[in-house]
Amino acid sequence: MLGLSPEHLLFLLRGAGWTIVLSLLGFVGGTIVGLPVALCRSSKMRSLRVVSSAYVQLVQGIPLPVIMFVVYFGLSIGGYELPALVAAGIAMTAYSSAYLGEIWKGCIEAVPKTQWEAAECLALTPVQRFVDVILPQAVRIAIPPTVGFLVQIVKNTSYSVVIGFFDLTYSAKVLNNSTFKPFTVFTIAALLYFVICYPLSVLSRRYERKLKRA
């Protein structure tokens, strides 16, 4: 098809599989680290706010390819011979935790203040207030932007090409080098990314409209 053999297509599909693996890794890691970041960002304690905000500023101020390189070389000077997936996964975790932390902080703060006050009036402990009253409402607000950010995660895994991780972008690059059919190869790669990202974009918008109506 279009001058590419089925093996070539399979090669791209395998890359797409690794893109999905790295995206999931980035999202799961980003959730695990991002949740505490969001809590610290909206905390009452000044020191927690300062530290978490510095972390977010730091990660958001450095390009993701550079973060990938720093992690990659950092691991190797630590004496670890790890596959590129580990370095890419750590970099994606750092990247998505900063953005998710910032998104979720906004969602926690979007819950009206009166909800906190009402929960206090009902003699709930601070933990109960947060877990039973605020969090369920914040999660509802957080769904559309979080799904929207998944698109960013999938797209930004493409930056792992700089450290030679075998994802969709890297496999497309290799395939182009051997076939010299850039339009075909990169159009197929773009379509594969689109197939992964577009449903997420649509879903995010649908959730957003649903939330607005509610």
Binding site: V66, Y159, A172
Partner: protein, 227 residues
Amino acid sequence: MNYEFDFSFLGEYGQDLWDGTLLTLWMTAVSIIPGFVVGTACAVGRLYGPPWVRKAATVYVEAIRNTPLVIQVFWLFFGLAVLSVRIDAFYAAVIALVINVGAYTAEIMRAGFESIPKGQIEAASCLALSRWQSLLYVQLPQAVERVYPALVSQFILMMLATSIMSQISAPELTGVAYQIQAFTFRGFEVYLVIAVIYLAVVTLLRAILTGLGKVIFPRRRRLGTPL
């Protein structure tokens, strides 16, 4: 772990790092205005254009926003090479950035146009302004004023994204870093240094753009401000 940090490459390659930083800034600067124009044109097309313009603009925005910049750049750069169009990596990078940031700006500007109160447009037509005059003198300035912070964030993200242009051998900051680490084998130190440079550039760019916003839009109306 007993690793000796060695930053001695800074002396020899300081000039290269400086040149790389300037190229990163220059690449960003020349992409911002065309990117803004493309994005605004798309937003207007999607809101007020005839059906085929709306459809075309929507396809453009969705196609760009749902595929990575790297793939777009490779498509353009390697594609042009096969068509034997000789183009400098810098110009290929700028074209790709304009096309990319245009799609994001289109969505931001659309939100801006949609947020303008109807009364403003009615007032413009009462003053006998034509549709284009109303768009240019009444709607556009107000739309930009309201979404200015979002635009600033988008342009800063674009500046960070220029780092991928080293992949098509544009000698911007990340590209320079790659060469230095190839010569010196000090990858970790080199990338730490350019991470700091990027942080400085982000801070500088944000300060400039925010300051500019305060000068141009003294009233600072945001999304949700009634008038």
